[in-house]
Symmetry: C2
Amino acid sequence: MDTPTIAPDLQELLLSAETVDLRAHLEDIHPADIAEAITNLEADKRWEALSKFEPYLAADVFSHLDDDVQERIIAALNRAELAWLMTHIPSDDRVDIFRRLPEERQESLLPALAHAEREDIRRLASYPEGSAGAVMTSEYVTLPATVTVDQAITRLRREAFNKETIYYAYVVDENRRLLGFVSLKDLILANPQERIEDIMHRDVIFARAHDDQEEAARLITKYDMFVLPVINGNDAMVGIITHDDAIDVINQEHTEDMEKFMAIAGSHEAGGYLRTPVMEHFRNRVYWIMGLAVIGLVSGTIIHRYEETLASLMLLALYMPMLADTGGNTGSQAATIIVRALALKDVNYGDIFRVLFKELRIALMLSAILGCMTFGRVMFLSRGADVPEGMTLPMIGFAIAIALSIQVISATMAGALLPIIAAFFKKDPAVVASPALTTVVDITGLLIYFNTAKFMLGI
Amino acid sequence: MDTPTIAPDLQELLLSAETVDLRAHLEDIHPADIAEAITNLEADKRWEALSKFEPYLAADVFSHLDDDVQERIIAALNRAELAWLMTHIPSDDRVDIFRRLPEERQESLLPALAHAEREDIRRLASYPEGSAGAVMTSEYVTLPATVTVDQAITRLRREAFNKETIYYAYVVDENRRLLGFVSLKDLILANPQERIEDIMHRDVIFARAHDDQEEAARLITKYDMFVLPVINGNDAMVGIITHDDAIDVINQEHTEDMEKFMAIAGSHEAGGYLRTPVMEHFRNRVYWIMGLAVIGLVSGTIIHRYEETLASLMLLALYMPMLADTGGNTGSQAATIIVRALALKDVNYGDIFRVLFKELRIALMLSAILGCMTFGRVMFLSRGADVPEGMTLPMIGFAIAIALSIQVISATMAGALLPIIAAFFKKDPAVVASPALTTVVDITGLLIYFNTAKFMLGI
């Protein structure tokens, strides 16, 4: 629990201690905490410390390191060291690391591995990134349907050492087709002489290897699962996804959603904020920002087209920023709610009319209040302003208030509609980024503003 | 898997079938799917369907219902029905439901429950909402340190029925102080005659009952845990938090973060988007939006103060919205990255100078590019515009570009700084909502804009 205070001592220990001495000390420390201490060492001391551990602890600690730290360590390893590491690491992490190696290192590594590991990597690496197949592990236990409970427990005992979990065992036929599953709890409670096929659960919830990883995480969430089995196109079982991988997927997707929503591009595999180089942060942000600036030319052109209107009634120019802000705020609120509801599968695109009707009613209420506030604002802020002949300040205030009310309604509807349309076209709703929405709402807002003013004030 | 097509049949079955018939059909269907079918029934048919199930299945299905559906069902139950339900439901859901009952129903319910359930509710209900204590369950297995492995397995077998998990058992002393834990895997692999104290793990990771639920979820994530034990102020064990509860906490916190960030208030316990009434959606949004409109008075006042400047150079007014948009976009990007990095503990407020230095470099690059684009934009859009005596269009374009560059730097720094300051004061960084930041950036942006123009153009 007290990681912050333990860490410096641990670091010193990692650097100075002899192998034997170290082993006794590390027994009580969680691999995640050792990984934190390793991360805080200087880059060239990290492998030196790791190589003092026994293989399985070293591999376990290594799995807990951030991707970018892993990459830097691996870059400095020779072929034998890399093969040693890859042999002891869990299968899902192994393929993950393999994927990120340069091609020539991938090719030189494979012959240095034992047949089983080599085949496992080949198989898992064939699934595209972001798929359920790419996050699964092949370290699970299978049972034939015909063994007894007693035989099954013996088998679990024998295989416990190198499997990710023995709490769920999967019953498969000779083609590895998934027939059912039993939990260790079921086995403990059953009569030792019963057959597995008589006690197994046949209602298995599973994912397909090509499903999106997010869909797999959603199944684990919905059904409160500890482990989710994964099957391939031939209905053969190929792996499991565990609850901790599901949490990682959920956190990663959250970050992506929020960043997309704020128009930040880029991959999210790499390590933390501080370790990401300035140039990469810059690249992740600049394209969208430049794109928005280009789209901004449209609203610039509109403003220029109405230059005459603005010149004849300077007051209109003063309230342009307010209109843009309010439209952007109400539109982003609606978009946030709908993006999140779509992500949690609270709504889908079939609900489009129910959503729009609901948002319309909310927008009407918001527009009534904000319209009144705007009228008050104009009357207060511009109380001494010059008003062109034939107009009064209340007339102008009323026109601005009406324009703003229409803008609030249109922005809210746009904020709700765009994510649903994105979902319909199987795009991620979060790409209807808040800045992108703001830019769209700016354009419609200006048109609403100038046309309302022209119509109501006759300029 | 095929929930969408199964659901209508299941609904019909739930309404028509006799109790006996129903039981056979439901065996193969996951409680989460039954809960979905129940939700789709008319409100007054829901309890009718549930009450046909055997008690533990009914309670299990009920736990999978959304909060608002649960509430509507409970509102129609009499005291005996409610007591029946509360007796069979898991302990963490029970206290959750209890908390949401009106006070007079709470008081009438307690005497109708058995002593054990009554005490359990009293104990769990004493922890504040949002704390680890409020999401934990008391259905876990404890063992004395002195029993043998064989005795421990017998005990797990006996208690398996009504415990949330038997895969981890906690070793406690006579004061329930946590000494260690053993997994069922350890027990299966150990010699049956060994004593628990000789095989237990003493390095227990735990949460305190008064810790934030988010902190508990973070421990589960960091240490890839299946179950996290919870202890009280006297170091006595009081409950466990399971991985599925951690996922719920993570999803809930993420929704809250995103909504706070977009200035949407309100609780997030209640059900989905469509079931939340229009008035509640309205209330969740209106206060912030009104608040922002009031703060907007400040930028309105600033614009009014520089009315003379604007009148003498109309071109400045035309580029006000662009300045506000670009500042808002770059500031929100920085804020998003930092809010997320703080949430994932990638950075904390001690890193403030490293973060600011990094953001400064990113901002300088962004401002260089956007400044050039702005100069080009003015030259292109305003190529035919009237320019006051003594100025040239390139001069004006240059001044606007410089103002925008300063604005990009100041907005990026504000976007990075405000969430860190919030974290320092132990506030949620996400309260530095994107609309709130936009409003702040608007105000500084206008001051930068008018003063740069006055200084460089001498107006």
